[in-house]
Amino acid sequence: MKSCESFTWDLNAYAEGTLSPEKRPQLEAHLAECPQCAELAGDLVKVVKLLRSVPAIPVEDSFTEDVMDVIQKDPRQDKAAWPGYLQWAAAILVVLGIGALSFQFLKPTGQEGDQVAKAPAPRSNNFFFDKQEIQKKETPEYDRSRRSTLQRNRMAKTKPDADKGIPMPEAESADSMGIADGVKAKRGMEASSMAPGEAAMNAAPVIPGVTAVPKTCDYAFQLPDTKAVRQVLSGLKPALADGTEKLAETGKAGADQVYLSVTASQLDLIKSLALPTTTEDLQRAKGQGLRKSAPPAGRFSGNDKEGLFSKGKTVDAPTAAPAPAPAPAADNAMKVRQRGRQPGAGLAGQADKPAQVYKVLITLVKQAEPAESPADASKKE
């Protein structure tokens, strides 16, 4: 005889009305013998009947409309209507596109701190990206355009008139000393694409013939490449640390020229220094030691690491600064390199001594103005 448990599923099938005709006699025989199972079967039939009478839960009349509204507002609803293979194709295209963009933007563009000005790139035929625009962002001009607002304001205050240019000293001009291009700090390599004022403000200085343009400078002075000039510049450069990350820069500017580029604050610093401006000062310094006058309080002493211009310091010559080579004899140092008609031609005996160089430099510094716009420069040309 079967146990009651073995009829459990049959009881439920019986209650549901799905019990097979083959099993029905067995179950009915068991129910006739087992009052408990008979009672349970009766109750299960009623429970099932009761549950089946439970109506479906009504929904709001606007339910379908609400659902369709939600679907229409669903950002993925367009995707839902696409066949699966199209969704995969779209996903692959998106991934490829992102990869191409990443390649374009993340590829290395040069050495860190590279300050070499780059020529404008030719217009790209790339369909998706304006390569010229991307390369423009890699140039110093672009970095220049991102200078701080404070610096912009300062530059705006000192910006020259558009037609003014940078005048040379009248009484003792650079021209009169044979330094025809003693100071020319043009700004903006792509002047035509900018408003004049904007070009003067945003673009990096461009010195004719200079291949290496400093990224961060406001003024640039071009001087003949003489021993004396190099001595002066090498002595001056470390003394111009103004507490910012911007350093005075020197370098070659053409075949026989060098440049000194400084920030506006470094320019003020130069003005504040008591530089040896006569040969007598240097001669006296050579014999007795040159005592420099104290710089304005708080302006310089803290940054004069070399001690070149500190009060009480003896300055033998600008070569006291860490120049690459020891200071040569005066007669050798004064020799001017002359190659053809260069800005430094005819300079021998005038800017071939450190004192003269200092003098010229001070004159230029006093008259230095931020820049003339490239547009004006080209007009003048």
């Binding site: 479906a56 609400d66 699966g84």
Partner: protein
Amino acid sequence: MRLEDVNKSSNVKPSEKALIAKARQGDQAAYGQLVTMYSKKVMTTIYYRVGNRDDAEDLAQEVFLKAYRGLQRFKGDASFSTWLYRIAHNVSASHFAFKKAKKRDGPLVSIHQDNMPELEAPTQRGSRPEARMLSAEMQEAIDNAIQSLPPDMRELVVLKDIEDKPYDEISRIVDLPIGTVKSRIHRSRVQLRDKLKRYL
């Protein structure tokens, strides 16, 4: 799966096939008809599982939204209603997981008392000749009895006795062996018998 596969499937009713095919091609009106066809069934299943009308309606909307998003993946192996119930099962499970995390289970509020005029007449139950208008008291008693069951057993009883789904389909919906489904339904019915003794 291609549209032809859905159309060839024997588990999808002819009228459903056309609607599903149109909906897969982006015909939202066709999908709206499918929503109308299955909204009460989905709502009933979810309501008896979550025990709250507001939650049930939100979840039902979510079910149809997910179904629309996944329409391209509907293979037609099972009926469309089974596929919807499966989504409803998953959505309800997620809801319970969320509620469990927030620990804010509320008491069941019977919706039948407030919505009696909207209840379907027994003749509208179609395949349910036993269906009849229940008194509000009995309806509330049934609601309470069902809600006294564990959520998983509630869902099984609703699918079997209210939605009249075959065991194999229920097994696929809840992803349980058919033997487990049968035994749980039996235990649920026995518990309901005890709860509803006075109405039997």
